[in-house]
C-alpha cells in the first residue's frame, strides 16, 4: 500500500517535508475528510485482476483519480459511494466498456492474467468474453429467451453442434435460477418477462460465455425487493464459479452479498476492506459519514 500525498491538497508543512507518511487523523480516530488517499488493504491474496494507478478522464473531467485495487478470485467485491463517485466508471474499465464513450481516456495498469487489458495487443472481444457484464436496467435483446442466452456462445463459437448450444442455454438458465420459470417459454421474447426475470436472463446471458469475472452495475436498482432478494441469492451462488464486482447504491445489499467493499468518493477510492469491517468500523471519516447516512 502506498501513501501518496494528493497534489491537490496542501497540507501544512508539506513543503518543509514535515508531514509524516502517516495519514492525518481526526479526533475520533478516523482519517480526516480532507485526506483522499486510499485507506485499508487494497490487495488480495489471490487476485484475479490487479489495478494500479488507474485514472479516467471524460474529456476534461477527471472522473477517476489514481485507483489501486485488487479483485480477488471467487470473491464478491462491492463498490459503494454517492452518485458520481466513479464506482460505475471503475467497473466499466474492467471490461473496457468505456471504450465506446466519446472522449473517455483511461491510464494506469489493469492487469489480468499478466496482461494489461488496455494494451494494444489485448483483444476487446476476448476480454469481454472473460469479463461479462450485467447492467443497471435489464436489457435483454428483443429476441426469444433462447436466443438471448445462445447469442454469446454462438458468436464466440463456443459450441459447434446445436445440442451443445442447447446444453449451454439450459445450464446457464439453471445457474441463473430462471430455468424452472421459463423452460416452457424458451421461444417467447425475452422482453416479455418481468423485470426481475429479465435481469436474471441478462445474468444467464452473461454467464453463458463462461466468463471468469462478472461485473454488475447496480443490477437491482430497477427491481422490487422480492426480485432483488432472488438476485442477491443468485450472486451468492455464482461466487462459487465466478469473481463478481458489483456496484450498488444499497449499503444493505453490499453488506449482504459482498466479502470486500470499496468506498469511492468524488473519483477517489477512499477505503477498501473486509465488508464487515467497513460497515462496523470504517477507518476513514468519509466512509463513516456515508454509511451512517450523513450524506449520499
Amino acid at each position: 500500500m502506498t501513501f501518496q500525498i494528493d497534489s491537490g491538497i496542501d497540507l501544512p508543512g508539506q513543503e518543509l517535508g514535515l508531514v509524516s507518511k502517516m495519514p492525518a487523523v481526526e479526533n475520533n480516530g478516523k482519517v480526516s475528510r480532507d485526506d483522499r488517499k486510499t485507506v485499508g488493504d487494497i490487495t488480495h491474496a489471490d487476485p484475479r485482476m490487479t489495478c494500479r494507478d488507474v485514472h479516467v478522464w471524460y474529456g476534461d473531467k477527471h472522473a477517476l483519480n489514481d485507483v489501486d485495487l485488487d479483485i480477488g478470485k471467487n470473491e464478491v467485491i462491492a463498490m459503494i459511494g454517492p452518485s458520481g463517485c466513479g464506482k460505475s466508471t471503475f467497473i466499466r474499465c474492467l471490461n473496457r466498456m468505456n471504450d465506446s464513450i466519446d472522449g473517455c481516456r483511461v491510464s494506469g495498469d489493469l492487469i489480468m492474467d499478466g496482461q494489461d487489458i488496455y494494451d494494444r495487443k489485448m483483444d476487446v472481444v476476448l476480454l469481454r468474453a472473460m469479463v461479462g457484464m450485467v447492467f443497471q436496467k435489464p436489457n435483454p435483446f428483443p429476441k426469444s429467451i433462447f436466443e438471448n442466452v445462445a447469442y454469446g456462445p454462438r458468436i464466440h463459437g463456443l459450441a459447434a453442434a446445436k445440442t451443445d448450444i442447447e446444453e449451454i442455454v439450459v445450464t446457464s438458465l439453471q445457474k441463473a435460477g430462471l430455468w424452472d420459470e421459463v423452460k416452457d417459454y424458451l421461444d417467447q421474447p425475452g422482453t416479455g418477462l418481468s423485470g426481475g426475470q429479465q435481469q436474471r436472463l441478462c445474468i444467464a446471458r452473461a454467464i453463458a460465455v463462461n466468463p471468469e469475472v462478472v461485473l454488475m452495475d447496480e443490477p437491482c436498482s430497477a427491481l422490487d425487493p422480492i426480485a432483488t432478494a432472488r438476485i442477491e441469492e443468485l450472486i451468492d451462488e455464482l461466487r462459487e464459479h465466478y469473481t463478481i464486482a458489483i456496484v450498488t447504491h444499497s449499503m444493505q445489499q453490499a453488506a449482504r452479498v459482498s466479502q470486500r467493499t470499496a468506498y469511492f468518493h468524488l473519483g477517489d477510492l477512499i477505503e477498501v476492506g473486509e465488508t464487515d469491517q467497513i460497515f462496523t468500523n470504517p477507518k476513514h471519516q468519509l466512509t463513516e459519514d456515508y454509511i451512517t447516512g450523513r450524506f449520499g
Binding site: N95, M97, S100, D102, V124, V125, L126, L127, R128, A129, G132, M133, V134, F135, K137, N139, P140, F141, P142, Y151, G152, I155, H156, T191, C202, R205, A206, A208, V209
Partner: protein, 429 residues
C-alpha cells in the same frame, strides 16, 4: 401574504376560465386547420377523379367490313406475310363509304374516314392475320372510335353550339347518330389505356410505357440508393469518429436534401450523359439521377432510425463480447430496419413523383415503344402526365387526369406498404 388554502384555490379558480378558453381556442384552431387541409385534399381528388374517370371507357364503333380477297391476298397464298402487308386502311375506308354511300366530296370523305381511329386498320390486320379463313367474307368488327367521336359520346362537346364554334361538324354528328340508331356504337372498358405506350392519337395512347419506364427507373434507384444510403448512415452513425470532417459531411448531406431536384438533372446530363456517355432517355440514367436525389432522404431517415435504437441494446451486445460490427449487424440494424425501410419508401415515392430532373436527361421524349430494359429509351409517369397535359386534344385532358389517378394509386400503395412494414417489423424493448 395570505397563503391560506382557501385563498389559493380562489386564485386558481379565477384563472381557470381563462385557461379553458385558451385551450378551447387552440382546439378550434387545430380543427379548422385539419378541416381546411381535408377540404383541399378532397377538392384535389374530386377534380382529378371527376375529370379522369371517363378515360377508363372508350367509345367503340362497329363496322361491317368486307374482307375482299383480291385486296388482301390476291394470289390466294394465305401467307401471313402477304396478308399482313395488305392495305387495311383502304378496306376500312371502303366499309365506311359503303355505309354512307351518299358521301361524295373529297373533303367530306376525309371527314368520314376520321370517324374511326387510325388504329382501326391495325385491329383489322390483327383480326385477319389471326383468322385467314375469313378472307372473302363480310365481318362485323368493333374498332375504337376517333377521339373526337369519343368526346362527343361522352358529352364533352356541346351539340347546341353553332357549327362554326364546334370541333365536330353537323355531318359528323349525323353519321354518329346513324351509328347510334343501328346500335353500332358502344362504350367499352379502355384496355388500351393500361396496355399501350404513348401515341399522338388519344384513343390509342396508354400509360403502360410510362409505367414500365417508372418501374425500371425506380428499380435502379432502389438498388443504388438503399444500400448506399444505409451503408452511409451506418458508417456515419456507428463507426465514424466525431470530428470536423464528419461535421462537414453531415451538413452537406442535409444541404443536399434541400437542393432543387432539377439541379440533379443538370448534374446527370453533364456527368452521366455528356461526360461518361451513357444513353439519353434511359431509365438507368434516370435511376442514377433519382438516386442522388433520394440519398439524403434515406440517409437522414436511416440515421434517425439508428439513433432511436436504445443504447442499452448496444451495451448488452458489447457486454457479451460482440464486436462492433456484430453489434451493429446483429442487433442495431435489425431494430433500425423498419425506420430505414419507411425512409426508403418515402424516398422512393418522392422519386416516383419526380419529373424535373428527368426532363434534363431526355426522358421527356415522345416514346411509343414499351421499354424492355434499363437502357431502352422511355419516359416515366409524371413526365407522361406533363406531356399529355401539354397536348391540345380534348381527349388528353381526361387521360391526363386518369394518369394522375394511376400515379396517385401507386403513391398511396407505396405509403401503405411503408406503414405495413413499420407495423410488421416494429419491435418493442
Amino acid at each position: 401574504m395570505d397563503n391560506s388554502p382557501k385563498h389559493t384555490t380562489d386564485l386558481v379558480r379565477q384563472g381557470l376560465a381563462k385557461r379553458y378558453r385558451q385551450e378551447a381556442r387552440f382546439r378550434r384552431m387545430g380543427m379548422t386547420a385539419i378541416i381546411l387541409g381535408l377540404a383541399f385534399v378532397s377538392m384535389l381528388f374530386i377534380s382529378i377523379i371527376g375529370n379522369g374517370y371517363s378515360a377508363f371507357w372508350q367509345t367503340y364503333a362497329q363496322l361491317e367490313v368486307h374482307l375482299d380477297a383480291s385486296k388482301i391476298d390476291p394470289e390466294g397464298t394465305r401467307d401471313s406475310d402477304v396478308i399482313a402487308d395488305a392495305d387495311y386502311g383502304g378496306i376500312i375506308k371502303q366499309s365506311l363509304r359503303d355505309m354512307f354511300p351518299d358521301v361524295t366530296g373529297r373533303r367530306d370523305k376525309r371527314t368520314l374516314y376520321r370517324l374511326v381511329s387510325n388504329g382501326a386498320s391495325y385491329d383489322l390486320k390483327d383480326f385477319v392475320v389471326a383468322n385467314p379463313d375469313r378472307i372473302g367474307t363480310t365481318i362485323q368488327l368493333w374498332v375504337p372510335a376517333d377521339d373526337d367521336i369519343d368526346m362527343l359520346m361522352k358529352g364533352h362537346f356541346d351539340r347546341d353550339k353553332p357549327e362554326s364554334e364546334r370541333r365536330i361538324k353537323d355531318n359528323q354528328i349525323a353519321w354518329v347518330d346513324t351509328f347510334v340508331e343501328q346500335n353500332r356504337i358502344e362504350s367499352r372498358f379502355n384496355k388500351t389505356f393500361f396496355t399501350a405506350g404513348d401515341s399522338r392519337d388519344p384513343e390509342l395512347a396508354g400509360i403502360w410505357g410510362a409505367a414500365t419506364g417508372s418501374f425500371f427507373t425506380l428499380i435502379i434507384t432502389l438498388l443504388l440508393a438503399f444500400p448506399l444510403g444505409v451503408a452511409t448512415a451506418v458508417y456515419l452513425e456507428e463507426f465514424a469518429p466525431q470530428n470536423k470532417w464528419t461535421d462537414v459531411i453531415e451538413v452537406n448531406i442535409n444541404n443536399l436534401a434541400a437542393v432543387p431536384s432539377i439541379v440533379f438533372g443538370l448534374l446527370g446530363l453533364a456527368v452521366f450523359i455528356n461526360f461518361i456517355g451513357m444513353p439519353r432517355s434511359a431509365p438507368l440514367v434516370g435511376g442514377m439521377v433519382l438516386t442522388l436525389m433520394t440519398l439524403p432522404t434515406i440517409i437522414i431517415a436511416s440515421r434517425a432510425a439508428l439513433k432511436s435504437v436504445p443504447p442499452s441494446i448496444r451495451e448488452a451486445a458489447l457486454g457479451v463480447g460482440a464486436s462492433k460490427m456484430q453489434m451493429v449487424f446483429h442487433h442495431v440494424l435489425p431494430l433500425a430496419m423498419p425506420g430505414m425501410l419507411t425512409g426508403t419508401i418515402i424516398g422512393m415515392a418522392q422519386a416516383l413523383g419526380e419529373s424535373a430532373p428527368l426532363l434534363m436527361i431526355g426522358m421527356v421524349a415522345f416514346i411509343v415503344d414499351i421499354p424492355t430494359g434499363v437502357l431502352d429509351p422511355s419516359t416515366v409517369l409524371p413526365v407522361q402526365i406533363y406531356l399529355w397535359a401539354d397536348s391540345p386534344e380534348r381527349a388528353f385532358v381526361e387521360r391526363t387526369s386518369a394518369a394522375i389517378m394511376v400515379l396517385l394509386a401507386f403513391l398511396i400503395a407505396m405509403n401503405a406498404l411503408a406503414v405495413l412494414l413499420r407495423k410488421k417489423f416494429e419491435r418493442r424493448w
